[in-house]
Symmetry: C2
Amino acid sequence: MKEDKAVLNSKYEEKKRRAILAAAKVFALKGFHGATTEDIATELGIQQGSLYYYFKSKEQALQEVCEFGMKDYVARMRGLCQLDVPVQQTLKSVIDAHLSNYRNQYSAMKVHNDQRLYLSKDRRVLIKKLGTEYRTLLEDLLRKGIEAGLLRNDIDTHFVAYSIIGLGNAWGANLMRDESIDLSTTVERFCNLVLGGILD
Amino acid sequence: MKEDKAVLNSKYEEKKRRAILAAAKVFALKGFHGATTEDIATELGIQQGSLYYYFKSKEQALQEVCEFGMKDYVARMRGLCQLDVPVQQTLKSVIDAHLSNYRNQYSAMKVHNDQRLYLSKDRRVLIKKLGTEYRTLLEDLLRKGIEAGLLRNDIDTHFVAYSIIGLGNAWGANLMRDESIDLSTTVERFCNLVLGGILD
DNA sequence: AATAAATTCTATAGACTTATTGAATTTTGT
DNA sequence: ACAAAATTCAATAAGTCTATAGAATTTATT
């Protein structure tokens, strides 16, 4: 019976995880509305109707994909921000983590970025909280950098934080689309651009 | 008869334009697959079936929205790049034009960015050409700036061009979503970030 | 080995959507 | 004012999709 699903059966948990990854892959490729439950089931190797053993609805699947994509992403960010190293170095780690995520996290981040607004508002509560926490951590980091005299004091931390995230998402999507782009080179150039700009 | 549609009847052209704008608005809000032809027709104030007087198919509507969004966008870029002013100034105009576009162009640009990949490849030929032209113009501009000694010679023009576009799209979407964000302040901060970075 | 529980399957109802068609209406040209 | 052309409408065929339900199968437990 489905009721036991709450009781963290390890077999169930593992397949549920695979279901989320399958949904992430399909949603990333076709978009939430463009993807069918049959697409996801096929990706998982089961029949369309069987998918409802794991998700109550297609919308719930999207919600879980987005939450999955954000959770350890934010957790890692928390860890990076606690380390006591110069801001520049933390920033580089943050950017590296952000971009690496796109190569490892099975498209869940992309789905979060592109499709989360198709969720009803109450399904987005946790997702929004996680997103806000991430941006806030980044803003705090920048503020600390200014106070330490390492960063210019005329920047707007909110603007810069949002820009770094936006740029990270743009390059993340690019890295996913084109496997031939080198990750570490991209991280390097990303940091150079944000830290030093392009002016001679 | 529909045949006359090719003969640029000005009445027809005007309503066709409005049909494209209606489609853009609906696609931007609900996504291509999430939007129905009924949504678009309602936005236009006609019946669902009547929409097919203007578009042969829903997919063609998406194609026309994307092309509409890109055409004068690229045309303006061409104009800006021909002016003989310092690179920094051109760059600012480019960013200003890019961001202003999101406030004026009735969501067509957003649809282009988010939904164009749902089009079949052959429907994307012109769209792709326009996008490539835009990025190439930007890359040429950066190269000119380096040769003039105004920009650092260790930047990768392709990387920077792509970054400026990505950042512009991120802020464009943000400006659309939140009317209270000030355009000129955003342009200012954008330029400062890209030109000078954040390092003290 | 027998029983219980968990997982998957098949079949389908009930919506919803796109695109078409021919009729009705409005606009335009003479 | 009349006829032709352009535009819109109403109705619907044909297809797709989500979600459910009960049967069948597989896996775990005693």
